[in-house]
């Protein structure tokens, strides 16, 4: 075991992946609470898939991948935030439409690009082990921005999730903060794509808080638990990936699913025992 850990931590690839993986684990643990509280799981699916259009544009126009995808994802998330104000289209339908349309655009753009320019498997399923220095810088700045947003507005977002109408009546600028939340969510999704890929990103943005949901009793206890689950899942998943040569994103998501099952099972057992 000690040999394995020593080999894992001394591996140059893992050393390069450590910092971005740590940042994304912190980021997703925090944002996943908002995803669950505001019931935005489908939105994260929509935005992550829609980011393929941004990646397609970046490949076609030779633009930097992550920044272009980030801008596209933020624009799409903001469009979705504006949806409920448009009569006849609810957020669910809007997400479905934008998700399918952007994904189709992305597929066409990428299929026309030179195949050697695009790591399609990496885009779809993520690969933190191939993170470049430029990606790492992007993830660092993006994470700082998201964490700063959380410091500023997490409490208001929490109040809004509990009761949007009362939050607005009590003086919270709900319309503006909702737009910011969706924009920050779009940015977070794109940063997770590097780790888990378009297909699996939603897992990172749902599972940490879902594990914590059984145990937390306040925003801070949920946050601490969500962070613990996220860090455990991410690094245990990376170890799995290293040990068995599995794709890193899939290994992390699978580990988080195992943690979710354990958390749910323990909560169920606790409930059964308390009723005896």
């Amino acid at each position: 075991m000690i040999d394995f850990l020593s080999s894992f931590f001394s591996s140059p690839v893992m050393q390069a992946a450590f910092w971005p993986a740590l940042l994304i684990a912190v980021l997703t643990s925090s944002m996943s609470m908002m995803v669950l509280a505001h019931r935005l799981s489908f939105l994260t699916v929509g935005v992550s898939h829609a980011s393929l259009a941004g990646l397609g544009l970046a490949v076609t126009l030779s633009l930097p991948l992550l920044p272009t995808a980030a801008i596209t994802a933020i624009i799409i998330a903001l469009l979705l935030a504006a949806m409920p104000n448009r009569q006849g289209i609810n957020e669910d339908t809007g997400t479905g439409v934008l998700f399918a349309g952007s994904m189709a655009l992305g597929v066409i753009l990428i299929s026309n690009a030179n195949s050697y320019e695009v790591d399609l498997f990496g885009l779809l399923f993520g690969n933190i082990l191939t993170v470049s220095e430029q990606d790492s810088r992007w993830i660092t700045w993006g994470s700082l921005f998201v964490l700063l947003s959380l410091i500023m507005w997490a409490k208001s977002w929490w109040s809004m999730a509990f009761d949007m109408v009362t939050a607005k009546a009590s003086g919270i600028a709900t319309a503006r903060l909702r737009l910011i939340l969706y924009g920050v969510m779009g940015l977070t999704v794109v940063m997770c794509v590097k780790l888990a890929g378009i297909v699996l990103t939603t897992g990172l943005l749902v599972l940490p808080a879902a594990c914590a949901w059984f145990w937390g009793r306040s925003m801070f206890s949920l946050w601490a638990l969500s962070l613990s689950f996220s860090l455990t899942g991410t690094f245990a998943g990376l170890m799995w990936s290293y040990q068995y040569d599995w794709p890193s994103g899939a290994a992390i998501i699978l580990m988080l699913c195992v943690l979710f099952m354990l958390s749910w099972l323990s909560s169920w057992l606790k409930q059964q025992l308390s009723e005896v």
Partner: protein, 274 residues
């Protein structure tokens, strides 16, 4: 004469063909406890949401505490306002203690994490416990809000609306889900807050019989104020009929409450007020 806490002038809301509220004017003074009644779709909840700044009227003018309510002043004016909307059928699935739900009503809660960490915890605790005490929920302060009954949740929501000691309290069917004992206690509490703290209360209720002894006046609403009955007044027969059709029959009253004139016709659905 003192400035009214709420001044509504020629308010209109909704489409031109089918307005929800039309040419509604109303003044409410400080310390006044007003009941608002009316049939379904009369615009009662809309009226409260407009006063709370949640909806913007298509025409008319609103002053709260002597200041014009608009996009620029809404956030500032809302600091002195408590609002309890109709109970939702879909409950939020967020793990929160009763204490946290009430604390959400404080402006010190909805701030950045830095400022939240530096808040006056002792003062917060006093305010939250006092609000919980008013609705008799202190014993449940550590309970998970989701585990409470509908009536208990409603009382916690009321505590949340009261926690910042607002000058104006807007309540939309606050007695929904409350048992008769807690309904009466609620009206007694509101009466006390108006008399002792000078709080102004606007409360939408369907059961006029339950509130007449406590309120200072009753506004009969059906797109606009059809009749504004004060203590000792009788709500005329035609007002009832206009609001509820023929489904009303009644009522005895004295100078300490509000009643309405007897109606001779019979009905399958009768409202009895005494």
């Amino acid at each position: 004469m003192s400035t009214p806490v709420v001044h509504l002038s020629h308010i209109r809301f909704g489409s031109d063909k089918k307005p929800v509220l039309d040419n509604l004017s109303l003044d409410v003074n400080a310390g006044h406890f007003m009941g608002i009644i009316g049939p379904n779709g009369a615009g009662k909840s809309t009226l409260l949401s407009i006063i709370a700044g949640l909806n913007k009227p298509s025409a008319g003018h609103i002053d709260l505490f002597g200041k014009c309510l608009n996009q620029n002043t809404r956030l500032k004016l809302s600091k002195d306002l408590g609002y309890l909307h109709q109970a939702q059928s879909k409950q939020p699935d967020i793990p929160l203690s009763v204490y946290d739900v009430v604390a959400m009503g404080l402006s010190s809660y909805n701030t950045s994490l830095f400022r939240y960490m530096l808040r006056n915890r002792k003062q917060e605790k006093e305010q939250v416990c006092h609000a919980l005490d008013l609705v008799e929920m202190t014993a449940h302060q550590h309970a998970d809000f989701r585990q409470l009954s509908g009536g208990q949740q409603q009382r916690v929501r009321l505590a949340r609306a009261l926690v910042r000691e607002p000058k104006l309290l807007l309540l939309d069917e606050p007695s929904a889900a409350l048992d008769s004992r807690h309904q009466e206690k609620l009206y007694q509490l509101l009466r006390k807050l108006c008399d002792e703290k000078g709080m102004t209360v606007l409360m939408v209720e369907h059961d006029i019989a339950a509130i007449t002894s406590y309120v200072d006046s009753v506004a009969c609403l059906n797109k606009n104020i059809h009749y504004h009955a004060k203590k000792g007044d009788t709500i005329p027969d035609e007002v009832w009929r206009e609001m509820y059709g023929d489904h009303v029959n009644i009522v005895a009253h004295d100078a300490s409450c509000i009643g309405c004139a007897p109606v001779s016709h019979s009905s399958d659905h009768e409202h009895h007020h005494d």
